[in-house]
């Protein structure tokens, strides 16, 4: 028998610490796949952020620099400027990128830094136990919005793929989901396209991936996956918001 689906070689053969049904694992796999696809793993330097994905180096078989919370784009800027011939990517959560790290991602994008940004939006602060995130949906109950997010006080969910797309320095910005095989295949393609922007020096590329956090949503994995389709996608439209040539 011939294998038709196998673990990417850039992904280490170890169990993850992610909760059952957490799609960080799946997104890791897609990133590793893209690395394999372009054969860039030997040149890759990953920049980890603080969040449930902090253990990047445990799962990817690459060199990794860990950034302070929110600062991965600045660290990646330092890395990529110092080693322009390496392949550099960041991997950040929504608390990390859209709250504390707002400034860093916007200015890195605006400078057109030549790294690839993977942004995992699960509408909550996963690692710290489920606080309201900048992307939490209106009415979403979290540790710090026990009565549900009140947009008049807490503000509106941030649509980061659109914000990034609006910056002159950004070359590619897309939002994908991984809640169904179809969306997963589209996500895989988007990540590869984003990688190609770096490889071909076309500019800064940004991939927002909608993801489930069953634990902090207080749901089973299956319910959580359903919420992505029912509640997240209607608010966070899937699509390509910028694609410079």
């Amino acid at each position: 028998m011939q294998p038709v689906f196998q673990r990417p070689i850039s992904l280490k053969d170890v169990a993850t610490h992610f909760c059952p049904g957490c799609q960080h694992g799946l997104i890791h796999r897609l990133v590793a796949d893209a690395m394999d696809h372009f054969g860039v793993q030997p040149q890759t330097i990953g920049v980890a952020s603080v969040g449930c994905s902090v253990f990047l180096y445990e799962y990817f078989d690459i060199d990794v620099v860990e950034a302070p919370h929110g600062r991965a784009p600045a660290v990646a800027t330092g890395v990529k400027r110092a080693r322009p011939d390496n392949f550099v990517f960041t991997y950040q959560g929504d608390g990390d990128l859209a709250a504390i790290g707002t400034s860093e991602i916007i200015h890195a994008a605006n400078r057109g830094e030549l790294f690839t940004a993977i942004f995992v939006n699960n509408t909550t602060y996963g690692m710290t136990g489920g606080q309201m995130a900048p992307t939490s949906l209106p009415g979403q109950r979290t540790l710090t919005s026990p009565e549900g997010r009140d947009v008049t006080i807490d503000g509106y969910p941030m649509r980061m793929a659109e914000v990034i797309a609006a910056l002159d320095g950004a070359a590619y910005s897309v939002r994908v989901a991984v809640n169904s095989p179809k969306n997963i295949l589209a996500a895989a393609k988007a990540i590869k396209t984003a990688f190609s922007y770096q490889i071909e020096k076309k500019g800064f590329a940004f991939v927002e991936v909608l993801s489930a956090c069953p634990t902090n949503w207080g749901m089973s994995a299956v319910q959580a996956n359903e919420r992505v389709a029912k509640e997240m996608i209607p608010y966070f439209a899937l699509g390509t918001f910028k694609e410079k040539n």
Binding site: M1, Q2, P3, V4, F5, Q6, R7, L11, A15, T16, F18, C19, P20, G21, C22, Q23, H24, G25, L26, R29, S180, P181, I184, L185, P214, S220, A221, V222, N225
Partner: protein, 76 residues
């Protein structure tokens, strides 16, 4: 005619693969694995119906699934 191998030690029992399979070939076990989860199982007899589309594997967050296809002329 294909084979789906689910790594029981990696499976966290999230059941997302069962949603993904268009043929509904995968089901959840009722025996806890070492990690304390109820893992997914691909019953051997399902090999026949499996198209090796690998959608189950695509969907698995824990990369616990490998899919094999019979090579041309290979015996079942």
């Amino acid at each position: 005619m294909a084979k789906v191998v689910i790594d029981e030690a990696r499976c966290k029992g999230c059941a997302l693969c069962t949603l993904a399979c268009p043929k509904k070939l995968i089901r959840m076990s009722d025996k806890l694995n070492r990690q304390g989860f109820l893992p997914a199982v691909f019953p051997a007899e399902c090999s026949r119906d499996c198209t090796s589309c690998a959608l189950c594997a695509q969907m698995c967050p824990d990369v616990a699934i490998t899919v094999f296809r019979a090579e041309k002329g290979e015996k079942p």
